[in-house]
Subunit: 421 residues, 2 copies
Amino acid sequence: MRIEIICTGDEVLTGKIVNSNFSYMSQKLEDVGLSVVWGTTVGDDRERLLEAFRLAASRADAVIVNGGLGPTVDDLSQEIAAKATGCELVLNREWFEKMEAFFTRRGRAMPPNNRKQAMLPATAEVLDNPIGTACGFALDIGPARFFFTPGVPRELRRMLEEQIIPRLLAKTGRPVTIHLKRFHSYGLGESHVDTLLTGLEEMAPDGSIKLGFRAHYPQLETKLLVRGADMDDVRRKLAPVEAEVRRRVGNFILAEDDQTLEGVVLQALAQRSATLAVAESFTGGQIAARLSPLAGAEAVFRRGIVSRDPAQLRGSLGLAPAHAEASTEAASEIAEALREKTGADHALAVLVDLDDGTDRIELGGTICIAVSAGARTLTRHSRLLGGREWVRLGAIEMGLDCLRRYLQGLPIDEKIDFEKK
Amino acid sequence: MRIEIICTGDEVLTGKIVNSNFSYMSQKLEDVGLSVVWGTTVGDDRERLLEAFRLAASRADAVIVNGGLGPTVDDLSQEIAAKATGCELVLNREWFEKMEAFFTRRGRAMPPNNRKQAMLPATAEVLDNPIGTACGFALDIGPARFFFTPGVPRELRRMLEEQIIPRLLAKTGRPVTIHLKRFHSYGLGESHVDTLLTGLEEMAPDGSIKLGFRAHYPQLETKLLVRGADMDDVRRKLAPVEAEVRRRVGNFILAEDDQTLEGVVLQALAQRSATLAVAESFTGGQIAARLSPLAGAEAVFRRGIVSRDPAQLRGSLGLAPAHAEASTEAASEIAEALREKTGADHALAVLVDLDDGTDRIELGGTICIAVSAGARTLTRHSRLLGGREWVRLGAIEMGLDCLRRYLQGLPIDEKIDFEKK
């Protein structure tokens, strides 16, 4: 099936907003085994919208149009859809009443121009939008099925997943159930994991599992796309393969599916009713900022301290000044003092000595990490290259990952690919 | 002039990467008064690329093609450009030697497949790429001028600004010098600033200044696009208008052009050889994280402390436990104790009491800020609505902006549009 995505709106066309809806839709469709072959961006312009709809109808089997369903004069999707199909716009009484109820629930009267949002082409099938006033709809233009979606990202997401993808999959006539299993790892490059997973796809019958990757430094996402007759069939096919991924990528897997590294750390601490304090230098508060805004963090995250100046970090913990260079000994001392001062039962210290000189790709940093808990303090020493920002991002991830490894009883000093030996 | 942008590559089409090159190009073109009318995204596919080039040639006057100039087999731009024009690919000896020199400077031999990057359509005009091996080029396909650019963002940016925009402006026959003046503000909404600046465009002769906005919460960017015969003419036209913007938007302007709020704060502190310490709660380390990674921050930013627990914040500063609710008194006490403890001559405390309950658009937070310096401690009390994330972002910005205002001798408690009265 050839799919085209048409993104509409002057804001997108002029670059006022980055078009993340396109990549979101395209990725979600890929994730269920559907492929986008054309992407078109066009402004709020009658003539060009009509031209774009006609062109898409001539070269695609399914078309998703994003944006232009709002109440203002520059929202043109319904009008041009009606024109392209040669039918009238008619008031959808049901949607109109739904909108009125929507406003009533918020204690407001519906402004008159919202009526426009319930005017749909006569041949349209409604696609429900449970969280907004923009009414999605589907109709045929020539031989192609068109799906009209709202520009608001959360409304689009829900409509795509709940309404459009099932219709597209039904149209393909393929086995209905498609499932995406995801693993997040830190420390191994994409080609390394690809090699580790050689032969994995062959474990499943009939090419029913497809392996893919998505690298977003410092993390790597490994994806298994599974097709089956139903969810039981999917689970049966996936079980041995996902177990094999866990076996081969092992300790480097830090989270699965919608989990995040900071979420996994927080959950592990919360489960044992434990508390945490963090000391950081060049990472500048970013480790605290990953953990601290999470729901439930207030019961776990006791305190963060941030300073590039070792004397300040030490001074704030009542430690005497010491040699200025970062070392695992210094990190240990700080982590232990931090636990004592804050009453937290876990402490993480991440110290970074950034190389001197102007920022450049060869610029590196020495990273010294200590995790203190119970009677033990574990440490990790590492060198990362790649410039200021790269070192900073790497140090944040490595610090959090050391804590994750400690909490899961894994070695915290396993060598990673990005590290200078 | 009708401009089309064609973004090529499977990574972009499948959503593996968000297409920020498109919005970047489109915005840069808008900034010099040129408009994109079509955007097309297409994968690494010979047939579809050719179709996209032919279609663009039929409906646009100028076309920018992004991506597909690399050395690998899926980089197809030169090949399809040659096919679309009906000419041969020939080796550009000059570019080939430039690439060899590029590799020699890095102490490496050029891999054989890089030769492909110097194979250009016979009719192509070279567009220099001083920082990479992908050779840009321009040629006519039918009545349209095509510009082929690399996918690597920094290479694209330089080529667009230095090579392509001047050629496009020459094509339009408009005055050559175009300048963009930008103001960044916090606290006033777009429509409010638009109203404040009523009549501004009319101050300049012949419509030579165009006013525009770009909102990215919490900041607003106000843009003046100035056209002139040369830079002196631009400066002469701009001077009274930019002075008027500063007069009308006044204290809300936090930075201009490439400056950032955190950069302005850091610079103001560095200029007076001053130092800073920051205490924060729900903002979770994000205030520290804005300041601390900047070059030069190590001499200014003494210490950051982060905790959602008031007792922890107070305890770490030797203050007795107190009433748990955020108040300007509590913020003052913390800021003053922080200065004393750290030896910093400036301290900023930002306390947030987030409303109870699940996250929703009506969820708000009470924000209490204190700036302590010299013999004075100034405070600010505010309520923001809009959900967890919105409150957090607003509190970060408001905290930094209070400090900016203090350092510039401005009132720190001026009411803003986003605030619940």
